[in-house]
Symmetry: C2
DNA sequence: CTGTTAGCGCGTTCAG
DNA sequence: CTGAACGCGCTAACAG
C-alpha cells in the first residue's frame, strides 16, 4: 500500500510472531509448523511482501546469480549459448546476468570488477580477443568463486574450458573441401596470439599436408572478425585467380565476404565453397549450398553452466569429459583443481 | 591475499583511521583531506579492496542498476536497442541487466518479481505478446520506481512509451508498394489484441483506402511471429495467384516466407515485394531489392534510457516529444504523471 | 517448534 | 576535517 516495501518485520508485527520465524517460514524451513507457515504466507501476500535479495545476499554471501561474459549477444552462436545457460540456471534457481565485452579488454576488466562488487556466485566467460593476461579474472578466483571458460579457451592451467575440438573441426572442414576437389583453399583465420585461431589454423594445415597439398602463405588471411576484414579479404581473393575453395574459421568475416561476392556477381557455389563454424540463420540464407560445421551452442551453454554449478556446490569431481555432437566435437578440458 | 574480501574496516584498522572516514574517502567526499584520501586509496588498492555493492545498495536503497526486459535478444532489432541502452547507461554509471521473456507472460512475471527483489532502480520493457494486463508491472511502480515501455506500447494511461509512429510507418510502407504499381498487396499482421499490430494494420488499410484499392480480408494474415507462421502464410500466398505485393509488419515471418519462396524457386523481386520494419542484416542478404522501413533501434534505446534516468532523478518535466528519424518516426507518447 | 541476539558491509547521522 | 554509533533487511547461532 505504502510507497515503502513491506519487510519481514512488518509481517512479524502484524502477526505477533518473531521476525526470525517469519524468515524461516518464507524460506520454507521445516522447523516451522504448517499452521503458522500458512498464516505468515497469507499475510506476506496480503502486504505485497517481496524478499529483499540485497539484504539476504549480504547476510548469506550468496547472490543466487551467475554471470555470462561474452563479446556480443547479437552473434547467433552466443545468443544460443545464453539460451542454454538460462535454461539450466533457471531450473537451478539462479539468475543470469549477461555482459558484453565487445571484444574490448578494458570493458571486460570493468565488467569483472562490477561483477566482483555485485558478488555473483560464478562467471562463465568467452574472453575478448584482446585478453592475453588474466589478472582481472584471477582477482575473482581469489574470492574462491568459480570461472568456466567457453568457446575461447583460457591458456592458463587449472581452468575449466568448454569448447569443441577446434583442431578436429578445422581439419574436417578443410578435408571436406579437398574431398569436393578443391586444391587451392584460402583460409580466413584470426589473430595467432589467440589459441583458438592457432588451433584452427593448425587443423587447416594438417588437412592440407595429409593430402599432399602445398601450404601457400598467401592463402592465409589473419584478421580480426570484423565485416570490413571480410570485404578486404574477399577483394584479395578475387585477385588470386585460381582459388577454388575458402575455409573460414570465423563466420562474421565469411558472411561479409559472401555478401561482397554476391554484389560483384561472382557465382559463389561454383567458384568458391565456404565452411564456417556456426549455424547462424544468416548463413543458411546467404547461400543454400554453403557448407557449415556447427558448434552445438545450446549444449555448450548447458554444459558450461552445469560445470559452474558443480564448482559452486564444491562437487569437485569434475574430470575430463569428451564427447561428440553433430558434426563437431565438444570438449571439456580440465586440469587438476587448486 | 586472504580468501575473504577486504572491507572498509580492514583498511580502517590498517591505517588507524575510522571506517566512516574510509567510506567517505572511497566515495570521494569533499569532507576528507586530500592527504588522508591519498593514503586510503593507496591502501585500498594494496588490499585489493572492492566495494560491496550489496551492502552499499542495502544502505542507500539505490542499486545503480537498471533492467531491460524484452522478448529475445537474438532479434537484431532488440540487440541494437540494448546497444543503445548500454551506451547511455554506462556513461551515467549504471549497470544494465538484460532479461528475455521469450514472449511468455509467466516468464515475464517472474522476471519482474526478481527485479523487484533485486531492487533495480528502473525498468525498460518491451512487453511479451501475451501481456494484456499489467499487474506485475504495477507492483513495481508502487515502489515509486519508473518504467519505460519501448517498441510495444503499453495500453495503460500514465505510461512512458518510446516507439516509432507505427501507423505512419505502415502507411508509408504500403504506399511505397502502391507507388511501385502493386494492386494486390498481402499483409502479414500480428494478433489484433495487441495495439502495435492494430496500429500497423490500420496504416496498411488507410493507404489502400487513400488509393481507392479495395480491402480484401483474404489478403490479411494474422499470426504470431514464428517462422512456421511465415511458411504457412507463404504457401497460402502462392495459391492466391494474383498477389503482386507483400507488406509484412514483422520481420521473422517475412524472412521465413522469403526463404520458402526461394526454396520453391519463385523469383521474389519480380513477383513479390516485401517491406519489413527492421534493419536486420539477414534481410539485406536474403534479397538485395527488398524494401525496408527501419526502426532506429539504437536511438530508441538511447531515448528510452535517457527518459528512464530523468524519471529516476525525479526530473519530472517529461512532456510530449516527437521527431522523425530516417524513414520512420520515433514517438514518445506520454500522458501526465501521477 | 519459536524467540533472542548478533552481525553481514556500508553510509549516515550527530558530535566534536 | 574526523570519530562514534546506529541501522538498512535479513538470517545463523544459540537458546528455550
Amino acid at each position: 500500500m505504502n510507497k515503502n516495501k513491506a519487510t519481514i518485520h512488518d509481517i512479524s508485527k502484524a502477526l505477533g510472531i518473531d521476525s526470525s520465524t517469519v524468515s524461516r517460514a518464507l524460506n520454507d524451513s521445516p522447523r516451522v509448523s504448517k499452521k503458522t507457515k500458512g498464516k505468515i504466507l497469507k499475510k506476506a501476500k496480503e502486504l505485497g511482501y517481496q524478499r529483499n535479495s540485497l539484504a539476504s545476499s549480504l547476510r548469506t554471501s550468496k547472490t543466487q546469480t551467475i554471470a555470462v561474459v561474452l563479446p556480443r549477444i547479437s552473434r547467433h552462436f552466443f545468443a544460443r549459448v545464453i539460451a542454454g545457460i538460462e535454461e539450466t540456471a533457471h531450473k537451478a534457481g539462479y539468475n543470469v546476468i549477461i555482459c558484453q565485452s565487445l571484444d574490448n579488454l578494458e570493458r571486460e576488466k570493468k565488467i569483472i570488477s562490477t561483477l566482483i562488487s555485485n558478488r555473483v556466485d560464478g562467471i562463465m566467460i568467452s574472453i575478448s580477443m584482446e585478453t592475453t593476461n588474466y589478472e582481472h579474472l584471477e582477482a575473482y578466483k581469489k574470492l574462491d568463486k568459480p570461472i568456466v571458460f567457453f568457446d575461447r579457451p583460457c591458456e592458463l592451467p587449472n581452468c575449466i574450458n568448454v569448447n569443441i575440438d577446434n583442431f578436429q573441426a578445422s581439419f574436417d572442414a578443410t578435408q571436406h573441401l579437398i574431398s569436393r576437389g578443391c586444391k587451392h583453399i584460402v583460409h580466413f583465420s584470426g589473430s595467432q596470439k589467440i589459441e583458438l585461431y592457432r588451433q584452427r589454423k593448425a587443423g587447416y594445415i594438417a588437412a592440407l599436408e595429409k593430402n599432399n597439398i602445398k601450404i601457400n602463405d598467401h592463402y592465409i588471411f589473419e584478421s580480426n572478425l570484423s565485416e570490413e576484414d571480410g570485404i578486404r579479404a574477399a577483394k584479395k581473393i578475387l585477385r588470386l585467380k585460381n582459388i577454388d575453395g575458402l575455409y573460414s574459421s570465423n563466420d562474421t568475416a565469411a558472411i561479409s565476404a559472401m555478401k561482397y561476392f554476391k554484389s560483384k556477381r561472382v557465382r559463389v557455389p561454383e567458384d568458391i565453397a565456404v565452411v564456417g563454424f556456426n549455424n547462424d540463420p544468416i548463413s543458411a540464407v546467404i547461400e543454400p549450398s554453403l557448407t557449415t560445421i556447427n558448434q552445438p551452442a545450446l549444449e555448450i551453454g548447458k554444459m558450461a553452466s552445469n560445470l559452474l554449478f558443480e564448482q559452486i556446490n564444491n562437487k569437485t569431481k569434475t574430470t575430463k569429459i569428451q564427447f561428440r555432437l553433430l558434426n563437431s566435437e565438444l570438449i571439456i578440458r580440465h586440469s587438476s583443481k587448486k
